[in-house]
């Protein structure tokens, strides 16, 4: 349920943007879910709704659009590019990566040269791709 903590960060950032840009209404937020962190969309969406009701009424009516972003990696040692599906991990390891995606460097390795020194080029975690509103 640490999705709540991340949902709260999305709400706070959207509210800050709303105030900074002096918007009348925030109509849509594009929230990217990186595949690596494996956020539970249902819990996250529920948390967003509840947090708007409880803490950030200025965002009432804002549509939060979830955008899935597949995880992609590039090995810094051999240059191999790979995806999450090509990697093996236990359920426990997946949970640790869920909490701290950088744990990928502890539990995952390049499928070609076995190095943990790879770059997460896409799909790490949660971020806001866009916010649209009316001035």
């Amino acid at each position: 349920m640490h999705e709540w903590a991340l949902a709260e960060s999305v709400i706070k950032t959207a509210a800050e943007h709303f105030k900074k840009e002096k918007l009348k209404k925030l109509s849509e937020a594009g929230v990217v879910f990186g595949e690596l962190q494996a956020i539970d969309k249902e819990i996250f969406s529920f948390a967003l709704e509840e947090l708007v009701k409880a803490e950030s009424k200025i965002l009432t009516g804002c549509k939060f659009k979830v955008i899935d972003e597949p995880a992609a990696f590039k090995c810094r040692v051999c240059g191999k590019e790979f995806t999450l599906k090509s990697l093996k991990k236990t359920a426990a390891e997946a949970e640790y990566i869920h909490f701290i995606p950088e744990m990928a460097h502890t539990f995952l390795k390049c499928p070609k040269c076995s190095s943990p020194d790879f770059e997460i080029t896409a799909g790490r975690g949660v971020y806001i791709k866009y916010l649209t509103g009316e001035k």
């Binding site: 950032t13 594009g30 950088e102 971020y127």
Partner: protein, 284 residues
Amino acid sequence: MTLPPDQSRVPSPESLVPCPEFGVAGKAGGGMNLDPRPSVICARLKKIKRVIAVTGWKGGIGKSVTAAVLALILGKKGHRAGLLDLDFAGASAHVVLGADGLFPKEEKGLEPPFISGVKFMSVSFFSKKKAVPLRGANISDAIIELLAITQWGELDFLIIDMPPGINDAALDIIRLIPRTEVLAVTTPSVMARAVLERSLDLYKRLKVPTLGVIENMTPQPGRPPKAGPQSKMARSVWPGGGVRQNLAGDIRFDPKLEAALGSPEKLLKTIFAADLEKISRAIF
């Protein structure tokens, strides 16, 4: 969004409001690409009265033991204390405390488990005795994630066990928690001391308040610890003296410390803890 202003870093409750705004972490591709996580860090820490980063610029000088035992001492005194191990590459506070088998509780974030009255959070919960080979940007991302999702609740003190030197972790803490106070650890070695002098100058330029310096492993058996203006390190590093600097003290080399590692109860009975307790009385 703008970077946080160059504000006074002297801690005060007022420094928590308003929360600083942070720069936006860029992502590949088009769009705004806002990293939302820094926006909640201030809220996560707002019920913590003081944040103390135990730091030092050399490895093996006793930062982790100092940080962990200081948290235990503060907890024993009735303060609400937390300990955050940010030394990702060399996380060891869990070994000092004997925190095997603990794991944070998921509750709208992660609630740190208690160990001997101290709330404890560490990357070791997630790495499970494996190495954490992270580059700088990854360390920053992991620190931001930990700070954004950890629900500390109300604390009188949050003690941070820092990695050696000024690196990504130290710069991130200064940026993300501007009210952090530094408690530096060194040893009598001329190498540790020389590096320390440079670090103190840097903290001064960065406007990071320094509580003082603890000289650890002082090789004088039986010598009573000194805290305050008499401290050897206070005299040598800051010949001119000063209120904050005078709060430092010495910790005697304690040959029995090693055997107490892993047991908070035994740690609190060591000479190390006795000396650190005297220093903490002078500092806090």
